[in-house]
């Protein structure tokens, strides 16, 4: 139908990348990077998610409308977490006596 049949090679390549990324996540977690540990872990997780969404979930070949919905979902999740942290993440600024 409208979806192309993706060659087996592509699926196995994505799988190999995901497995490598998992080992990287596990390995990097035991190296002390200070505040960068969480940044690296989340960047790897976002990369893995993008690979799954684009290739395993076929969003790469979906209609523009479906793509828009997918992006909107993650956009609203970002709003939820970002706006919550603009509150909780800045409360300590007040305790330190800084007045804005």
């Amino acid at each position: 139908m409208n979806h192309k049949v993706v060659p087996l090679r592509t699926y196995f390549l994505i799988w190999a990348l995901l497995i490598c990324a998992t080992f990287t996540t596990l390995g990097v977690a035991f190296i002390d990077l200070g505040p960068w540990n969480i940044v690296v872990a989340m960047m790897i997780a976002f990369t893995k998610m993008s690979l799954v969404v684009l290739f395993f979930m076929h969003v790469k070949q979906q209609t523009a409308l479906t793509k828009l919905f997918v992006v909107a979902g993650f956009f609203f999740l970002a709003i939820l977490i970002f706006m919550a942290m603009t509150d909780y993440g800045t409360r300590s600024w007040m305790d330190s006596g800084r007045v804005w």
Binding site: M1, N2, H3, V5, V6, L8, Y11, F12, I14, W15, L18, I19, T22, F23, T25, L26, A29, F30, I31, D32, L33, N37, A41, M42, I44, A45, K48, M49, V52, V53, F55, F56, M57, H58, Q62, T63, L65, T66, F69, V70, A72, G73, F74, F76, L77, L80, I81, A84, M85, Y88, G89
Partner: protein, 224 residues
């Protein structure tokens, strides 16, 4: 009259009458499934948001829990889920080309990986239970008594988030069983493979949730 009969005959038995053609039907069901998945993103998103806030408030208490987690078991489970996502994607691919035998094999492999994941997950729960790390069930935290209360917040997130994830795995296994039966009763093929595609979307979504749960719950303070 004869012209109408001819039109009726040309319709695929899988085409529901409110769609123009199979193409539109597949696009619609895919979009509909994504709308459902967006509600799932916000469902898990609430928990991820709350987790972010509490981790920001009690970073040391959260990091102190890492020594009680099982990062190797968690890593194995991540790999198991990724393998199950591969076999699920292959099941969809073989449904697209209508190979009943390989669809069956791939669905069964996906279910085996899924059951293996749940088995490892529940043995971890048992280990935590034996180590008194379940809040409200005689929780003990002798190594860091100063974190007795705040560490329980992390363990609440751990059990609720992995628990809801496990419930989703059980639902996924139910859907795979349904597909397995459906695959024997009808022929998936290039014209109609929507149920396999849609179930695949669900299964991959559950995999993505775990991709984030693994570093956030198992590896918080592994570097210390």
């Amino acid at each position: 009259m004869s012209e109408m009969d001819a039109t009726v005959e040309q319709h695929s038995p899988y085409l529901q009458h409110h769609f123009d053609d199979l193409h539109q039907q597949l696009d619609s069901s895919t979009l509909g499934m994504w709308v459902f998945l967006l509600t799932e993103i916000m469902f898990f998103g609430g928990m991820f948001g709350a987790y972010t806030i509490y981790r920001h408030m009690y970073p040391e208490a959260f990091a102190s829990t890492s020594r009680y987690m099982e990062p190797v078991l968690g890593g194995i489970n991540t790999a198991v889920l990724i393998c199950s996502s591969l076999t699920m994607a292959l099941a969809v691919r073989y449904a697209q080309i209508g190979n009943r035998k390989l669809i069956r094999i791939m669905l069964i492999l996906t279910m085996i990986f899924g059951v293996a994941f749940i088995g490892v997950k529940f043995s971890e729960y048992y280990l935590h239970y034996k180590e008194h790390l379940v809040p409200w069930l005689d929780f003990q935290y002798p190594d860091h008594p100063e974190f007795y209360h705040n560490a329980q917040i992390l363990f609440c997130f751990y059990f609720f988030m992995t628990g809801f994830h496990a419930i989703h795995m059980f639902v996924g296994l139910g859907l795979l069983t349904w597909l397995l039966v459906k695959n024997e009763r009808m022929s998936f093929g290039p014209t109609y493979y929507n149920p396999v595609e849609i179930t695949g979307l669900y299964w991959h979504f559950v995999d993505i949730v775990w991709i984030f749960l693994f570093p956030l719950l198992y590896l918080i303070g592994a570097n210390k």
